[in-house]
């Protein structure tokens, strides 16, 4: 077996071996069934490549991400600021109006600052009631000095969500589902598969050769 670099897609077997394979192929009937030696049609090869790129693109976790506690940190800071607290404690207004007004103030204030969380905030809007419930937990975490991006907000709870991207020495590699060793393994898996199958089929007689089925059948 030798790879001819000038003709990389050509058969990998010697002429003698090819001749033996051809004789075998044409001279034997397997239960009355014969096999042709056609290649994959070109459009189907395109479809297979498209499948691979789609597989990588569609599985990548750009979708369905959960809200981290970090995106609400600014909400909490503003909630605990004096003007907002005044509105919330203003008993002259009904409860709902106070909430709405306070939330409007917070959102207005946030709109004036650039933040890397703007997109996620739009994805995961929060109500004043829920904010009030999670606020003390976020403050507590901030006091403890942890990275809020490792925590997610699940209903009324703020929960540590980073389990599998931490090295034994405590180094954090990633905080959300992102590129991980699963994708690395998947890339190698596909490459090794392609090489093996190409070598396997390249050892067959070239696909330009058509077996003559009239010999054994």
């Amino acid at each position: 077996m030798a790879w001819t670099l000038r003709r990389p897609l050509h058969t990998l077997t010697t002429e003698d071996e090819n001749q033996r394979a051809k004789d075998l192929w044409e001279g034997e009937s397997l239960g009355g069934i014969a096999e042709n030696n056609n290649p994959l049609p070109r459009p189907v090869i395109g479809l297979l490549l498209l499948t691979y790129f789609t597989a990588m693109a569609i599985t990548f976790p750009l979708y369905g991400q959960r809200p981290t506690a970090a995106i609400y940190a600014d909400y909490v800071a503003l909630l605990n600021s004096e003007p907002v607290q005044e509105v919330i404690n203003d008993t002259s207004l009904p409860y709902n109006e106070r909430n709405d007004k306070a939330m409007a103030m917070i959102e207005d204030a946030l709109a004036h600052f650039d933040s890397k969380y703007t997109f996620q905030r739009e994805q995961h809007p929060i109500s004043m009631d829920q904010l009030k419930i999670i606020a003390p937990q976020i403050v507590e975490l901030q006091t403890a000095g942890v990275d809020l991006e490792e925590y997610i907000v699940v209903g009324p709870e703020v929960i540590k969500s980073n389990f599998f991207n931490i090295q034994p020495d405590g180094t954090v590699i990633a905080k959300q589902p992102w590129w991980d060793k699963g994708y690395t393994v998947a890339c190698w898996w596909f490459i090794v598969f392609c090489l093996s199958v190409i070598i396997a089929v390249k050892r067959l007689p070239p696909f330009t050769w058509r077996p003559d089925h009239s010999i054994a059948h």
């Binding site: 071996e17 699940v154 929960i159 389990f163 393994v185 396997a200």
Partner: protein, 311 residues
């Protein structure tokens, strides 16, 4: 591999399959096994015992070989009032969950605390034991063997119990009756928590078998159902005939789990009950017939305990 060269083909097949199993079984099992138990996992193990599916000690899934969860308001030794405490009673001969018998289930810190502070290595299945779930100052949950640390004996704890919860036997009923074909025990990580509560985290399952996540959800998730609805009356009616409380429910009736006698020792006549119910359903009666209260040792009671205990 040339045309019809099968030896190499077999080798390639073997190598591919071995690679596949290495990546999909061996590598994940290292990661999964390295996770420490959470407090939930400790509570679940102590509530459900060794195994809830078919096993040698309970081959017909009758709820045998199961611990009893009890709620204590007073110290069983001295009778002094204490804060409400959940204790897990393993009567003599009850098999311990894997976390108590294998060193690698609880996780390093939890295992260390459970042995050093909780003395779980002194518990024996032959003599029975009473366990508590505690937390160290560093927030590490651990199991305390109260029989060794406090001298709490099985009988004394059962006698002093404010409430006995047969959730362990109830999980066996949950599996045998196929509840998990429709009710999952897995709020999903992405969307479900708004309705069904916190999705389970990675350490929440250590030592539990089977986990009965369920896959085909035809009914609400039950992982936190006890927090959403803690009414024993509602559950009793719902299990007896779901249409009493949810007119459009498609759940089967579980009235046969009541057995022959109700809590007051009166015989239960299901056919008579059905006749009266039919009258009610036709509109000839204002109220449906009374749902009998399940006897303390009935399977219905155990199943209801299990469901209410899912907090």
């Amino acid at each position: 591999m040339a045309f019809r060269e099968y030896k190499i083909g077999c080798w390639m097949f073997g190598i591919a399959l071995s690679f596949s199993m290495t990546v999909t079984i061996f590598l994940p099992s290292i990661d999964i096994s390295s996770m420490s138990s959470t407090k939930e996992a400790l509570e679940k193990q102590l509530t459900y015992g060794w195994e809830s599916g078919f096993n040698y000690y309970d081959p017909f899934l009758q709820g045998k070989d199961k611990p009893i969860k009890v709620i204590l308001n007073k110290d069983p030794m001295t009778g002094e009032a204490i804060d409400e405490t959940a204790a897990y009673v393993f009567p003599a001969g009850t098999h311990f969950p894997n976390g108590l018998t294998h060193d690698n289930i609880l996780g390093d810190d939890v295992q260390k605390a459970s042995v050093e502070l909780g003395k779980i290595d002194q518990a024996s299945e032959e003599a029975g034991a009473v366990f508590l779930v505690q937390t160290t100052e560093d927030d590490v949950p651990y199991i305390e063997n109260a029989t060794a640390t406090r001298g709490w004996q099985v009988d004394a704890v059962l006698n002093a119990a404010e409430q006995k919860i047969y959730a362990g036997a109830g999980k066996t009923m949950f599996i045998r009756e196929g509840c998990w074909w429709c009710h999952t025990l897995l709020p999903e990580q992405t969307q479900d928590w708004q309705t069904f509560g916190r999705p389970p985290l990675v350490g929440d399952f250590n030592g539990e078998s089977p986990t009965t996540f369920g896959s085909d959800r035809k009914a609400p998730d039950l992982l936190h159902v006890g927090s959403r609805n803690s009414s024993r009356e509602w559950m009793t009616m719902h299990f007896f005939n779901p249409r009493l409380v949810q007119p459009h429910s498609i759940m089967p009736r579980y009235d046969y789990l009541w057995g022959d006698k109700d809590a007051n020792g009166n015989p239960i006549d299901l056919e008579a009950w059905d006749r009266e119910y039919l009258e009610y359903a036709k509109g000839n009666r204002v109220y449906p017939p009374e749902v009998p209260e399940p006897a303390p040792d009935s399977e219905a009671r155990k199943l209801i305990d299990f469901v209410l205990n899912l907090k």
